[in-house]
């Protein structure tokens, strides 16, 4: 059973798919048509990438009339962002600097 991280990495390993996801992150909700105009590939190819992104939970679709709007689901990236270990690394480095300072304060 692949982990959530495996799925995210595999989904975003494709540069074209990643570019579509990044565009949705930057620009907010977009239609398939708008994404196709910028992607440089056919609309069916864009739709296929969007389906893979949707399966990984990275995008959500919203139907409005004949148009389908896609938006990025940034929360899906959460498994890649381990806040507690990031902050622990931050504080370990600050403790090093604090100890350096304390040694200098002695002089």
């Amino acid at each position: 059973m692949p982990s959530a991280q495996d799925i995210l990495f595999k989904t975003l390993a494709d540069p074209t798919r990643r570019a579509i996801f990044e565009r949705l992150c930057r620009k907010g909700e977009q239609t398939v048509g708008a994404l196709t105009a910028q992607a440089g590939i056919s609309q069916p190819a864009v739709s296929k990438h969007l389906a893979v992104l949707k399966q990984a939970g990275l995008v959500r679709d919203r139907h409005e009339g004949r148009l389908t709007h896609y938006s990025a689901q940034l929360g899906a990236l959460a498994p890649l962002i381990d806040w507690t270990s990031q902050m622990a690394g931050f504080w370990e480095r600050r403790f090093d600097q604090l100890e350096d300072l304390l040694r200098r304060m002695d002089q």
């Binding site: 962002i81 403790f95 604090l98 300072l101």
Partner: protein, 136 residues
């Protein structure tokens, strides 16, 4: 180092430091000294004082919660979409001081904060190419 519970998570870093608590307290509470090891700031050791830390990447908004000279210092820490509380505890030992920092109050849903995702995204992209190029 990382504690996980149903509601919140904490980051705890602690060290035995060969200096007296009074000296460490000065480094933790005097703005020009704090700047040398942590970040630029307008800290004052006064309960309810609002201040911020300023780094190259942005600011941390804080409010002083507790001040017990040479023993305990606590302030809120809000940055990058995360809200938490940082508590410093100084305990004298034979050879110096045991210094403990606990940052607590991370909720699992805060990990999904928009700012956090944006911040993590840059790091993720930087490492992605190497990871996918690695043989299984």
């Amino acid at each position: 180092m990382n504690e996980t519970s149903a509601e919140t998570r904490s980051v705890i870093v602690e060290r035995d430091i060969p200096f007296p608590a009074e000296k460490i307290w000065r480094a933790l509470t005097q703005p020009h000294l704090i700047e040398e090891w942590l970040m630029k700031n307008d800290f004052k050791p006064v309960v309810d004082h609002r201040f911020n830390f300023r780094g190259d990447w942005g600011a941390v908004d804080c409010e002083v919660l507790e001040v017990e000279p040479n023993k305990t210092l606590s302030y809120t820490w809000a940055a990058l979409g995360l809200e938490s509380v940082v508590t410093w505890t100084l305990t004298p030992t034979g050879a110096g001081t045991h210094l403990r920092m606990e940052q607590s109050g991370f909720r699992p849903d805060q990990e999904q904060a928009y700012q956090g995702a944006k911040y993590g995204w840059q790091r993720f992209l930087a490492g992605l190419e190497q990871v996918v190029a690695r043989p299984d």
